[in-house]
Amino acid sequence: MFTIQQLVQPDTLEEAYDVLTRDISNTILGGCAFLRLGSKKIGTAIDLSKLNLNGIKEQGDFIEIGAMTTFRDLEISPVLKESFNGVLPQSVSHIIGVQFRNIVTVGATVYSKFGFSDLLTALLALDTDVELYKAGRMPLAEFLEKSPQRDILTRVFIKKNSCKAVYKDLRNSQSDFPVLNVAVSQKDDRWRVVVGARPLRAQISQQASEELSQGGASPAGIASAARLAAEELSFGSNIRGSAEYRKAMCKVLVERAVTEVLQCK
């Protein structure tokens, strides 16, 4: 069973960061959906509820998503339903149930870099930046490659553009964690192929993306890109599926996703 010795609800990010870095056992609370599954001993829990970090806003050239925004907020957001063929609402809509999605937060999911994340895969297919209190703003792909630092993820920014995108996943049963997930996006001649839940975290297949961007999405090009994604990325085994199965299904999902992107308006 997890324990929380002390609880603070800071009025500023500065205060939250100060408490976070005071002791290794101090922890930022997100939706806390996975907290009860472990036995973490938290010294001081830091709740960000007073910092107005929830909500989805269109700000200039970006869609801004606050760290405390829930998955259900993403799922029903009119802005996100209308943007990028609704790829973000689609990516979160099969996670457990509506009661669970009303709890889990965007910030905790992105910061934790969960391998099984559906949202990370979709976000990585778009032009997404993350904002951290101390480290500042950076592309999501760069953040995912960085070694873990104690920091506070405050916002996610998605560039508003004409990007078309499709999300596909494979689950053993409805509402289970994904065995594999794929997001593919296209903006003009630039394609991006992302594969997640391998079960390692989402990663861009550079070779598949380049194949489509250079050669176009002919039937042969799509088949080639799907094969390249499966060859380039690494896959592992766990209770939900073997590495071999994931590798075989990667080709299928990439092929389907690219084909569907071509049909997007």
Binding site: I4, L7, I42, S93, I96, Q99, I103
Partner: protein, 149 residues
């Protein structure tokens, strides 16, 4: 710590632990409709509304209801009874252990979705598990209750 909240339209001030979960707090205060069936945040039996939104009380830290409205099935007995009658008439209620959480989600859906299609109903209720039935009786009851085909 002390929290103040409105539980089923009544203002309360409760002393809670920092790491206390809402399902435990509510049960300790006599709201025994709250049940837990999975320990992994996926069965939906403990569903309550926080500010009208269906939420897993087994996974929500109690301090997070400070200053908020919480509704359990004890607070909406008339509506719950109306749906329960339809549920029973369709033969969908067996052991009844999952019923409070299921009914809370159905009533939340009624408030949130207008004339939902079957696919939308199933999607909304995916997070409520029932181990007695095959869900067909529940689906018939929900459609009848909502007056949709």
């Amino acid at each position: 710590m002390q929290i103040e909240a409105i539980i089923n339209n009544k203002k309360v001030a409760w002393e809670i632990e920092n790491d206390e979960l809402l399902a435990d707090t509510l049960r300790a205060k006599g709201l025994l409709s709250i049940r837990q069936g999975c320990d992994t945040s996926c069965c939906g039996l403990c569903t309550v509304w926080i500010e009208g939104k269906p939420t897993l009380s087994c996974t929500t830290l109690s301090f997070r209801i400070n200053g908020k409205n919480v509704t359990t099935i004890e607070g909406i007995q008339e509506e719950a009874a109306a749906f329960a009658q339809v549920l029973v008439a369709e033969g969908a209620d067996q052991c009844g252990f999952c019923s409070p959480g299921f009914i809370m989600t159905v009533l939340a859906m009624k408030n949130e979705l207008k004339n939902p299609a079957e696919e939308e109903i199933i999607h909304y209720l995916t997070g409520n598990l029932c181990r007695c039935t095959g869900y067909m009786g529940q689906l018939r009851a929900v459609k009848k209750y909502l007056g949709v085909e």
